[in-house]
Symmetry: C2
Subunit: 216 residues, 2 copies
DNA sequence: ACGTTGTACTATACACTGTACGTTAGGGAA
DNA sequence: TTCCCTAACGTACAGTGTATAGTACAACGT
């Protein structure tokens, strides 16, 4: 039996292969068997390094978070915050599966903590009390999560002709008496370009509210 | 063969059973076979009313959106906006699967359109230009989506003793030299009570930014 | 140099999934 | 009554995560 040599695998190698499979087949087509095949290994081999599929997900998430650049230094704190939020959005757009991984699994891991540390320390240095800093952090994080998840969702929809056709059909079927505003604004609402503008708009609203509460 | 009589099923009945299964077994344990069993029917019977599982998801989502109360009238617009956002959050908390359904499927259906119409018309009446109203709508919606998804996630985590133990372990393993702020604020960040406060904090930030841009 | 042991990987198997396909029976229309 | 349409059925398939048991290899103590 052509048994593969020992120690060809490692947690990191598994994670990288998992990422390859995930980006190739999409989060839905992702399977442990696919990862194992990518590695030329039996499906159960992965269980040496990860307790189960969710555990592997956590590994992938933390690995992706490791790609986040550090918070920039030497800028006014609102610009630092803006920068971190934009970087996270960009990373999520580059790796669409990250959105799902962030939304469906608890946060853990060193890289994830590193990112949190960056944003939190910016807020603390800006003079926010601990509790307010934590609340602000959560608000910013969840805004980026929701906004970017939605952006990815819209983009995928727009790229699937079948989904697009069905969406148009369901729009057409709306009574223009009952939903005048929705119909009036349908083009704006399903706009896929201008994602930057949309994201920055909401982020600036948050930052405007925040700077109005800047500690003395 | 004890064949069930004709026309015992209907799209609405299927959706209601699906909802029962979903709330009983959680979104992960949800399966078409489970729904069929709940209805006392073979798995393939569902395909008479829904093209596939995703189509059924859309039906459930729209059904849940039908539970949204209409936007209140006779209040200043910021209070109307606040009310709609809070109502959506509450609905998502009552039906945790809604968060997932909103994040992973495009919006369609009459009830979903009704909710959008409510918020959009409030914004238009407040004097926002069409494009700004649409952007604001998306911002508010995505904030509620992200914030409440996260809140649900935290709550589920807190209720699973195994997940909680592993989270604590991963917190302990963080170097207090590299992540002083995360460690200092760990209690605040993983706080599960005070979800109202957290949600309202972010919502108020957005509204503060918005009212600062109120059209003349 | 040689058993021994722990471990990295394999093989098999199970319960389960969504759904394609073909069949059958009940109710309404002619 | 006859016929047809269609709602619900049964069967089958490819695929899933993972429990369990087995196997061969590397390192180690003697």
């Amino acid at each position: 039996m052509a048994r593969t040599p020992r120690n060809t695998l490692s947690p990191d190698l598994v994670i990288r292969s998992a990422l390859v499979v995930m980006e190739a087949k999409g989060p839905d087509g992702f399977s442990l068997r696919g990862v194992a095949a990518e590695l030329g290994v039996g499906p159960m081999a992965l269980y040496t390094y990860f307790r189960n599929k969710d555990d592997l997900y956590d590994g992938i998430r933390d690995h992706l978070m490791g790609l986040m650049p550090p918070a920039p230094e030497g800028l006014p704190w609102p610009d630092q915050v803006r920068s971190v939020c934009r970087d996270l959005r960009i990373l999520m757009l580059q790796h669409p599966c990250l959105a799902q991984l962030l939304a469906s699994r608890p946060l853990s891991g060193n890289e994830t903590a590193r990112v949190a540390e960056g944003l939190l320390s910016v807020l603390r240095s800006a003079g926010f009390e601990p509790e307010i800093a934590a609340r602000t952090h959560t608000t910013l994080f969840t805004y980026v999560l929701g906004a970017t998840t939605w952006e990815i969702q819209m983009a995928q929809e727009q790229s699937d002709p079948d989904a697009l056709r069905r969406l148009r059909a369901s729009m057409e079927s709306l009574s223009s008496r009952d939903f005048p505003t929705v119909i009036e604004l349908a083009p704006e609402l399903s706009r896929t370009t201008g994602g930057n503008t949309q994201f920055n708009y909401g982020l600036d609203l948050l930052l405007a509210g925040l700077t109005a509460r800047t500690p003395s």
